[in-house]
């Protein structure tokens, strides 16, 4: 049981075959229970279709009746060395919010493109979202090759189209695979129909994606989630977002500039003298200093800014647009404050990936752009590239998440 975990999301335009590919992998690797497979045969027959692999994922009545994925879902399967969490994301423009919810949980992605249709609006938008979410390990699956006559020429054309987009978005991609998820070509075994393709099948390539490591080399940062009063002490709990800390090490509270030392690292029924990135811990401090939810505790050397002006890339997720100076709420790590957009520049139409020509200082549904945000209270933050969890945030309006962004 020393398998590593890989979270992989399937994205791409509607009907390009995301759910079908997942269903196919599950079926071909014998990851579907016998009774579920029988259930699938039965329901597929009811809809008058052959085996609907997508039904292994699309469980809602509306999804099956309309043959689309509405909400993101997850499924699990294992190989000898890995535990896969496969996330299916809807491709329809109506459900971009659900797509983002699913994609934000992944560390790698598969972008699926229909070989006949080629790059479509949601292909572009999803590629943009991958870049915004900082997902760098991407496999491009050129699907439905059966319908394109298994033509190498067509495959090369589609790959060229995608490469142009990736270049524009500064996304890197090592893997391109021509496949037919429906027929099983190049999914779990090499295709007999595309002998011109010499790369590996999908499963083999999936097994070779690198697993992301926690950032341990940099100075540590711990945003405080809560403070628990125990009988004899107060424990401040939080997750180490990067770096490592140990008992006795010096810490700085970003908001108050107080400096003290870690008295103890608290984990239930464990004696710990150190903790590293990714761990949920509690700490007590040598001097009695005031900590509360939202306090950010870090190494003296950590490059954490404390400011009320933030430059970021955001995407707007609500139908109703937002204008500068409109009141929003920002949540960044465990902090929360009121804020407003101060300026919108480099607005991008995510459907075309072109710069919007209007500079009306508004953001419409699914617009992305570079913005300057002013917060009411100062915020402790980092750049996204320095520490992911303290370098990204969401915006809320009327208690709902309406945008997400990464700090530049």
């Amino acid at each position: 049981m020393n398998r590593t975990k890989v979270s992989l999301v399937m994205v791409g335009h509607v009907d390009h075959g995301k759910s079908t590919l997942i269903g196919r992998i599950l079926a071909d690797t014998d990851s579907v229970a016998k009774d579920k497979m029988e259930e699938l045969r039965k329901v597929s027959k009811n809809t008058g279709n052959e085996l609907e692999y997508a039904f292994l994922l699309d469980h809602l009545r509306e999804e099956r009746e309309q043959g689309i994925t509405i909400d993101t879902t997850q499924t699990f399967f294992q190989t000898e060395n890995r535990e896969y969490q496969i996330i299916d994301a809807p491709g329809h423009v109506e459900f971009v919010k659900n797509m983002i919810t699913g994609t934000a949980q992944a560390n790698s992605a598969v972008l699926i493109v229909d070989a006949v249709e080629g790059v479509m609006q949601q292909t572009k938008r999803h590629a943009y979202i991958l870049s915004l979410l900082g997902i760098q390990d991407i496999i491009v699956a050129v699907n439905k090759m059966d319908k394109a006559g298994y033509s190498e020429e067509r495959y090369i054309e589609v790959v060229k189209e995608i490469k142009e987009i990736f270049e524009q978005l500064r996304l890197s991609c090592k893997y391109f695979i021509p496949m037919s998820a429906l027929k099983g070509d190049n999914v779990c075994k090499a295709s007999e129909n595309m002998k011109w393709y010499k790369g590996g099948d999908f499963l083999t390539i999936m097994e070779s994606i690198e697993v992301k490591q926690e950032k341990r080399e940099c100075p540590f940062i711990v945003p405080i989630q809560d403070v628990y009063k125990m009988e004899d002490k107060r424990i401040a709990v939080g997750r180490v977002e990067c770096g490592e800390l140990h008992t006795g090490c010096e810490i700085r509270v970003v908001q108050t500039e107080q400096i003290t030392q870690v008295q103890s690292i608290e984990k239930y029924l464990e004696k710990r003298s150190e903790a590293a990135a990714g761990e949920c811990i509690g700490i007590t401090t040598k001097d009695a200093i005031f900590l509360e939810r939202g306090s950010v505790v870090c190494d003296k050397e950590a490059d954490v800014q404390y400011d009320n002006v933030i430059n970021a890339n955001i995407i707007w997720l609500e139908r109703e647009n937002v204008q500068c100076s409109q009141r929003l709420i920002m949540r960044c790590s465990t902090q929360e404050t009121a804020c407003a957009l101060e300026e919108v520049y480099h607005k991008i139409n995510t459907e075309q990936l072109t710069e919007a020509d209007d500079n009306d200082q508004k953001m419409n549904y699914l617009d992305a752009g570079r913005v300057r945000i002013r917060t009411k209270n100062k915020l402790a933050f980092t750049r996204f590239t320095d520490c992911e969890n303290t370098g990204r945030f969401v915006l809320l309006r009327n208690n709902s998440i309406c945008a997400n962004g990464i700090i530049l």
């Binding site: 229970a33 016998k34 469980h59 969490q85 919810t101 949920c280």
Partner: protein, 266 residues
Amino acid sequence: MDYLTELENESIYLIREAYAQFRDIGMLWSIGKDSTTLLWLIRKAFYGRVPFPVIHLDTGYKFKEIYDFRDRYAKEWGLNLLVYRNEKAIQNGISPKTGKLECCTELKTNALKQVVAQNNIKALYLGIRRDEHGVRAKERFFSVRDSDFEWNYKEQSVEMWDQHKTNAEENEHFRIHPILSWTERDIWNYIKRENIPMTKLYFSNGSCRYRSIGCETCCSPIASTADTIDKIIEELENTNVSERSGRAQDKEADYMMEKLRTLGYM
């Protein structure tokens, strides 16, 4: 970080987030393996002291082993245990024989509605997992239920980067799902690693065992000789049958689970 430790940290983070947002919170404990594992994680998150009520919805049809286990560990772990029965429905003769959908709705969902209302609960920790059922796979970590307990699965809120929707309207409540990402195998591997006590219903009596437990009337055991945790894990590595195949409410008719869940079922 190994895979189980990663999952443990994810869950503890979610448990602490929910408690930071909602002090009027409770936990549903069915005494099964998932909610007992969740309870274990909660005890870890709060350093051994569970600072809210632990609720057991008693349908009256549970296995005797479940009641024994509940009473023993409620005492040992110092839990604020709240046992709740929908007495009115029980007196009205609701039972699995009168219809499973109605029985689950009355004795579980409606019992839950009553206990939430009476105790002014704003959020509930639940031990459901995505890999149990395709409909549960669509869940969010923080999932809102309206005053009728309905789950609007077509309009779920955005949830990302550990940021969740946390503001409910009056009469709404949140379901908090800290072990949503765990699989059945993860649960058993963790039970083994942490040595979490489990009711003996899960272990083979020589010829069969329960893989998923609920009411005695609606659960069937599977043929199995797995009488230790190691053997259970081995069995799961090789099985070709789904976890809840012995649970009646999952398949009595198409979309039964979806119907139950939109009505407020767990």
